[in-house]
């Protein structure tokens, strides 16, 4: 088992290197010249050729590609992502740090919605397979997979905030502000999870041990809750865990719709303003989160899978 963990961790390192490389290449391909930008940052009144070449030497921009990459990587590991191109007074780290808590709050709440909605609904769909409830849920799920996330957000905003005036439309501050955006994000993922949980439970119900438990005369409810559900929970938790980075990435659109002041909104603004350091840091952050979360939950899945224990012995 330890071998697997070590192997997985080792694989993660090149992946992290790849994404950092991609981000570095990204910043090097942009049209604006970093030397010019640096000069602007220092508020140099007149930008001359000499000043540019001087800056290039100073910033080490003439060094070979790999050395610059290594230096940049070192900066990143120290959390120094440079300054914003647009507003040089602000550091990238500062900007992201300012907006990150809001996004995490939103993603966290969405996760809660996903768990409390998809688990019971998936469970009941499996137990009452092909009943009216199951068929209605399956149709609704089918529809939501065809709906763009932003439209769901708009629709909910219109119905609940404007028509019924139950919740505020935008901004943040209280739990009330959190409900609609979080629900919107969760809706896009709930459909996937309901289907996953339903199929997982249905598969587990066909297992041999369920037949044996029925043959021993155990109550239906005991079998379902103590045995089938417990066996399914493992898959469900791992799947939901692996989706956490997706939830964080998925906040981009919803933050835009509900004017939620998170990193997604920051990134979109940065794209329009061509504020490349921020975009780069955002991509780096999300990519790293992806790799790290997949690693952690891969390992958790491996450790907790009961069937793998059998192979080990």
């Amino acid at each position: 088992m330890k071998n697997y963990i070590i192997k997985r961790c080792l694989i993660a390192i090149p992946l992290l290197m790849c994404i950092s490389f991609f981000c570095f290449v990204f910043i090097n391909l942009i049209p604006s010249d970093p030397a010019e930008v640096a000069l602007r940052v220092r508020q140099t009144p007149i930008i001359t050729e000499e000043a540019i070449s001087q800056i290039r030497v100073e910033l080490g921009l003439n060094d070979p590609f790999l050395i610059r990459y290594a230096r940049w990587l070192g900066d990143c590991l120290r959390f120094d992502f440079g300054v914003s191109y647009v507003n040089p007074a602000r550091t990238v780290l500062g900007e992201i740090g300012r907006c990150l808590p809001a996004t995490i709050q939103l993603a966290g709440f969405s996760l809660i919605f996903v768990i409390i909605l998809s688990l019971p609904i998936g469970f009941f769909c499996a137990i009452y397979k092909d009943s009216l409830f199951d068929r209605i849920v399956r149709s609704v799920v089918f529809m939501t997979t065809a709906m763009p996330a932003y439209w769901i957000g708009l629709l909910l905003m219109w119905l609940i905030s404007i028509k019924l005036d139950l919740l505020p439309t935008s901004g943040n501050g209280t739990i009330k502000h959190l409900i609609l955006p979080a629900f919107t994000i969760s809706l896009t993922y709930i459909s996937t999870y309901i289907r996953l949980i339903r199929n997982n439970i249905l598969d587990n119900m066909k297992e041999d041990y369920v037949l044996y438990e029925k043959a021993r005369g155990l109550k239906e409810r005991t079998i379902l809750i103590n045995h089938v559900l417990k066996n399914s929970l493992h898959t469900c938790i791992v799947a939901i865990g692996m989706s956490i980075p997706q939830l964080i990435a998925g906040t981009i659109v919803v933050e835009n719709v509900f004017a939620w002041p998170g990193v997604g909104k920051l990134c979109i603004a940065a794209i329009f303003n061509r504020d490349y350091p921020i975009i780069q840091a955002y991509v780096l952050m999300i990519g790293t989160l992806f790799v790290v979360f997949n690693l952690i939950f891969d390992i958790i899945q491996y450790i907790t899978d009961p069937r793998l224990r059998r192979d080990v012995n």
């Binding site: 041990y209 021993r216 103590n226 224990r309």
Partner: protein, 271 residues
């Protein structure tokens, strides 16, 4: 001898997906107390389905007609709750694949306790005593340790014996054994078959023994029915089936097996 279970004209059809397929047709047999009836047949002949139908383990995708009278009750028409109470207590089943028949997430003692709690009013102490009894009855060494283990830590043979023990502990009237030796190696098979012979001798139970293995059936069963594609093609005592069977399918089955055995013995003699 007292007739324990009488099955008459049992017919099972699969009605899933708006298509009707007949699984078994007009099966009739009876089981007597203290005797064993063997159900012989190849894969897909409907052996397991018949027994699952008797125990009420088939879902609504199947249509069952006929009767299975046990103690003046027709098992095929009994309510779900009544059937559930019978299962595990009065009518017990031993399944084919012991390695996958236990929930991998629970220890053995927990799984035995579950069954006992369901069917008896015994206290915790009495239940632990009974659990040890089950393992001792099956001659499993270090029963205390075995109880604390997870299913994946035990061998197939041991799990099979635990299954047999669990089937016996509540003193049932009828035991249905669905290919209990198929997933086991030959040496353990021999031990399991002996267990069944002991059960037949000591306990007053009726046994339905399903198998596709002729040698095992010949040792245990008193009477044999042969199934082919859901229909009974032959019925009779073990001697009759093995030596005097007239039905071409049965004869083919016996001949094939005999040929393998003869060849095996020839090779042993030569070497």
């Amino acid at each position: 001898m007292k007739e324990l279970l009488k099955v008459e004209n049992l017919t099972i059809t699969n009605i899933e997906n708006k298509k009707q397929t007949t699984i078994v047709e007009n099966i009739s047999f009876s089981v007597e107390l203290g005797k064993c009836i063997g159900i012989l047949g190849e894969s897909g002949s409907g052996k397991s389905m018949t027994c699952k139908a008797i125990m009420g383990l088939l879902d609504k995708n199947f249509n069952i007609t006929g009767s299975a009278i046990y103690k003046e009750k027709d098992l095929l028409t009994e309510g779900k709750e009544n059937m559930r109470k019978l299962r595990g207590k009065k009518i017990c089943m031993i399944l084919q694949n012991p390695m996958t028949s236990f929930d991998p997430l629970y220890r053995i003692d927990k799984q035995i306790t579950e069954t006992l709690i369901e069917h008896t009013d015994l206290s915790k102490v009495e239940i632990s005593k009974k659990s040890l009894e089950i393992l001792e009855m099956m001659q499993i060494r270090n029963p205390q340790d075995v109880l604390k283990k997870y299913p994946h830590q035990l061998s197939g043979g041991m799990l099979q014996r635990i299954m047999i023990g669990m089937a016996l502990i509540l003193e049932p009237d009828l035991i249905i054994a669905d290919e209990p030796t198929t997933a086991i190696d030959a040496i353990t098979q021999y031990e399991i078959v002996n267990e069944f012979l002991k059960i037949k001798e000591k306990n007053q139970v009726g046994i339905i023994f399903i198998s596709h293995d002729l040698s095992v059936v010949s040792k245990i069963a008193d009477e044999v029915i042969v199934l082919d594609k859901g229909k009974i093609v032959d019925k009779g005592s073990v001697d009759y089936i093995f030596n005097e069977a007239k039905n071409p399918y049965t004869k083919n089955l016996i001949d094939k097996k005999m040929a393998v055995m003869k060849k095996f013995q020839e090779i042993i003699k030569k070497g």
